[in-house]
Symmetry: C2
Subunit: 320 residues, 2 copies
């Protein structure tokens, strides 16, 4: 076009070698005037790399996942990578199909470690670099030679349990979401932190504000003398807290309420909701950093990064 061969331009753009001042200037000028841009598809075909990463979450509407996406997106952007997001809505079938088509389009995948087993297996089969994010699952570490950014659900629940015990709560109801493999870990942490408390469990079908709302009456009045309700996540807790207010139940006077994730709105509820920060955004950031590192170096290290949950005490679990 303006002096040199395509190869030279390619090398310049990919900063592979150094060039004579004259040539470099001419090329840059030409690029400028022609407003030339690489064709990513062609580049991909030649290199086998797409400079795009995939991110799979359970539920786009849950602010916890939005936080993860936000974190991941930021880091990807800083490295010039694109981000493809898929929401498989807790459906096993979705997860499989979406993941397998996604894998073809990207250089690597970040996915919730709560992915269905089959989808997890498929991820490994895809041979793409992959990083899982989410709660630690002690029993399964050996089974998963995938890199991951973890946060201890047990620890999170333990912190919360200790706090509740210290505030004098003795009869706790745990609103469980058994579809999640993280659920039991949380219950476990709670139990160990509150050996003297009676802990009963109610199982929920969904992890939504609506689910928390509709279970409220039976959760509050069901187990007699219940003085604290811990929810699988903040979405449930928000719904529950709201309905408790509607029912005229005093929070925290009569009953304490808490959740997990530290979703932004929890701070703005009345009363503000005690929760455990699960580092949503940081999970996304770290996972993306790890993944990009794997992509660039080509090493498939099954690194495991640990984040620490932080208890956020707010008014919803104040003294009785």
């Amino acid at each position: 076009m303006a002096g040199v061969s395509a190869t030279t331009v390619s090398k310049l753009i990919n900063r592979q070698k150094s060039f004579s001042q004259a040539v470099e200037a001419r090329i840059r000028a030409a690029i400028e005037t022609l407003d030339y841009r690489q064709n990513p598809a062609a580049r991909s075909m030649a290199t086998g790399q797409t400079r795009v990463v995939g991110l799979a979450v359970q539920d786009l509407r849950n602010p916890h996942f939005t936080g993860v996406i936000q974190g991941a997106s930021q880091v990807a952007e800083a490295h010039g990578f694109g981000l493809m997001v898929v929401d498989f809505k807790e459906k096993e079938l979705n997860a499989q199909n979406l993941l397998s088509t996604l894998a073809l389009r990207v250089d690597g995948i970040i996915a919730s470690s709560r992915l269905p087993e089959v989808a997890l297996a498929q991820l490994q089969a895809s041979r793409k670099p992959a990083v899982l994010f989410g709660q630690t699952e002690p029993g399964r570490i050996d089974a998963q030679p995938l890199a991951s950014v973890r946060i201890r659900g047990y620890q999170a629940a333990y912190l919360l349990g200790k706090h509740l015990a210290e505030s004098g709560r003795r009869r706790v109801t745990y609103l469980s979401y058994p579809k999640s493999r993280w659920d039991q870990e949380r219950l476990h942490g709670l139990r160990e932190a509150m050996p003297e408390a009676k802990i009963s469990v109610i199982e929920l079908e969904a992890q939504t504000m609506e689910a928390g709302e509709s279970i409220a009456a039976s959760a509050i009045y069901g187990a007699d003398g219940c003085d604290a309700i811990v929810c699988y996540n903040d979405m449930i807790a928000i719904g529950l807290l709201h309905q408790a207010c509607v029912l005229g139940v005093e929070v925290p006077g009569q009953i304490a309420i808490a959740g997990f994730d530290n979703v932004p709105t929890t701070r703005f509820m009345t009363p503000p909701l005690t929760t455990v920060d699960m580092c949503s955004q940081e999970q996304g950031e770290k996972a993306m950093e790890l993944l990009l590192h794997m992509i660039k170096t080509g090493e498939a290290a099954a690194t495991e990064l640990q984040l620490e949950p932080r208890l956020i005490v707010r008014a919803s679990t104040g003294r009785k």
Copy 2:
């Protein structure tokens, strides 16, 4: 591989012609055993299509945009299209860079119509099919020969204003977010719906819960006798409502509070927040349907679709 030429396989996969039973069976069998998948990059290079669409939003953390993404994602998925999401965080520079790189990777772009002017211009220059979503801007229709899914901000504010007037509110403060080009339209609707009310305006730097929280005291006590506060969006309203409770202000007894967007959490606030549903998810769905139609037919029609805002009356604007 197993009997035929690459051409034939290609034609079969893309359902271009019909084939003899025998051949079709053999090919399908081979695809099955080899677990063959098309290489999207190669396909893209040959066809010039990526089967991916881009979606650009202001702020991933705002549930309104999450709703749009959700809607768009669903439709894209149903049509076998991937979705690349970019969050330009209200930064003009971001918007430009991100959009121009995005444009190369996708077959079309959906973007908030609140995009900075320069970015908007760039979108048009990219010559990719594009659909804007968001509030109608009457003055600019001619200037934008882009397809769009619109919702009348004026109408939304008018509905809300009428409701407030009917509930006897006479001294209204509007928490404005002047960075948004939609802001004035809302104020305008409010003014026309409440000709007998005194409307004062406070300008905010951010459209976040924190912004609503920190302006609360001056908004509530500043204009004397203020009996209603309308916020640019629900995020601001949530922060404001929370802080009003902290300050011991009665809502709606002393002051009414309302926002726009019908973000899911508004229903679960105490008191539940009156808002105007701006059809977040539907905006995403319609925009994606429109865009995919444009991509498939190749026509660049500057269609404009209108959605109707719906007033959602809740307790936060009950009678004094």
